[in-house]
Symmetry: C2
Subunit: 308 residues, 2 copies
């Protein structure tokens, strides 16, 4: 069975949307990546940290889904990372209400022995030095390293970010962040500049407007499935990345052609994630539902043009 190593947060989220609000529920980039990857039957190890307040039942759920949680450190006298946010009516923008780093503040990821040979590594949105330290622990250079980052790290740790970018294959980043990182407004030009920083593959996430995959002169686009209702966008980007990595790990094919399928799978899974609060939809998601929606993605995008 192929292996996927994912480093990211395992957290509590409290979310408010126009449809309702939650108390503290399960969240975190590592959690969403793991749940998405679990769809592909790959051995996924999540490296993260939680506090003594983190329910064993959440860890049990993850293990049941086939996620290896031995890399999730439990700091008994610490508190789990907590984020709270409120989405605006358009669901595209949100205000962060609370960020309590807690145990994340001193997090030093330790890669379990069993995952030091994972061919696919997903470096979730953390400090670039933390991301680099995961790569340092691998037995050999993984076949594919995927990195997610955000504007916050560009603001406070740009040099460290540039260093780790030289060591990765795929960057996933949203459109505004791609513009900030590259200084280019056009996403085509932004991708070119980011290629020069290291990553051979650049995935630009545009939320409800889909995602673009760039590889030198090649370009591919996966739309987001238009939905009647977006209930809670939290975790959609991480689910997208987890679907991408899970599909690549399962197929062990690192070509551009196969990455097209991977971002379609990522978009597909993300379209489920937003249908309920937090991880709820991803926990109950069946293979049949995924296949049915994959068919919808084909209907949405495939054409057989008549030249005239």
């Amino acid at each position: 069975m192929s292996k996927l190593l994912a480093v990211g947060t395992v957290a509590f989220d409290a979310i408010e949307t126009p449809f309702g609000k939650t108390d503290k529920i399960l969240g975190g980039s590592g959690t969403f990546v793991g749940l998405a990857a679990s769809q592909f039957g790959v051995k996924t190890g999540v490296v993260s940290v939680v506090g003594g307040d983190f329910p064993q039942s959440y860890l049990d759920m993850m293990e049941e889904k086939g996620i290896d949680t031995t890399g999730i450190e439990i700091v008994k006298d610490g508190k789990t990372f907590f984020w709270s946010g409120k989405y605006h009516n358009d669901m595209n923008s949100r205000d962060t209400l609370v960020t309590e780093l807690n145990v994340l503040e001193t997090f030093t990821p330790v890669v379990p022995e069993e995952f030091k040979d994972a061919p696919v590594v997903m470096l979730g949105n953390l400090h670039p030095l933390t991301q680099a330290s995961v790569l340092d622990q691998m037995n050999e250079r993984p076949k594919l390293v995927v990195l997610d980052t955000m504007n916050f790290w560009m603001d406070i740790a740009l040099n460290d970010l540039h260093e780790v970018l030289k060591r990765i294959d795929v960057i996933t980043i949203n459109d505004e962040e791609a513009r900030q990182l590259s200084g280019e407004y056009s996403l085509v030009n932004a991708a070119k500049k980011i290629h020069e920083m290291g990553p051979k593959y650049v995935v630009i996430k545009k939320g409800e407007h889909g995602a673009l995959l760039f590889n030198e002169e090649n370009m591919f686009f996966a739309p987001a499935l238009p939905l009647a209702e977006v209930f809670d966008p939290t975790g959609a980007g991480d689910t997208f990345a987890g679907g991408f990595c899970g599909y690549i790990a399962r197929t062990e094919d690192y070509s551009f052609e196969n990455m097209k399928n991977a971002i379609i799978y990522g978009s597909n899974l993300a379209s489920f994630c937003v249908e309920k609060f937090g991880t709820e939809r991803m926990e109950e998601l069946s293979k049949e539902e995924v296949q049915t929606r994959l068919h919808a993605f084909k209907q949405l995008t495939q054409f057989d043009i008549e030249l005239v």
Copy 2:
């Protein structure tokens, strides 16, 4: 040869973008629709009005492209409709600097005898009563009526707009206007509401984010081709609509499946339109360029997914 009747403006535009500015150049929805449709070798008649200040050379150019200009009334002692706008740095928003309606103020479209049996009719963005008067002049109900409109008419002539919507097949509208017309934020729900107003087909234009085609439970998405530089977005929406109508008129196939191709063709032509100021790029566009870019659209969107 199949016929297309297009009613719309033939105008002077003065445009300012971050790349430069123009004096009064050729513009107008009817012009862009006609130029796009001319790619398909259909007999396209444009119904519009210009003033005595409108150069004969522009009319000659249109005739050379195969556009029938007998429906363009020339008001000798009047002035041609003039619009001037300035695009912001992101090219997605613009300020209107000048709107001089001039001869458009009293425009009553007269459909030439030769086009009263056109199977495809494109009602460009004009007052809904003006659009309806074109339909009144047709010998019989055309096979396909496409209507473009904007928020302005929703604000000042909503009842008239609702009346004409009952008489058409396809509405093309941008995302914000679809939301305004339907009162629904989700574009899926907006399309449903608009279906109920009459149009069996709803095309929602999202500018650089592509276009969605809805028909009851069916949905198709055409991306906009990501470009390194968007030079001048003026006319892109009309070029999209002209490509859509031209393709349908040429193929005489009014099915949803064929409309998929039509919106891909529309997106394709629009991607050229924005590369130069005004109509310049569309005037010089070759069939070979169109075919090459059609291949790029396929590369951008087509995948052959492995189920796992």
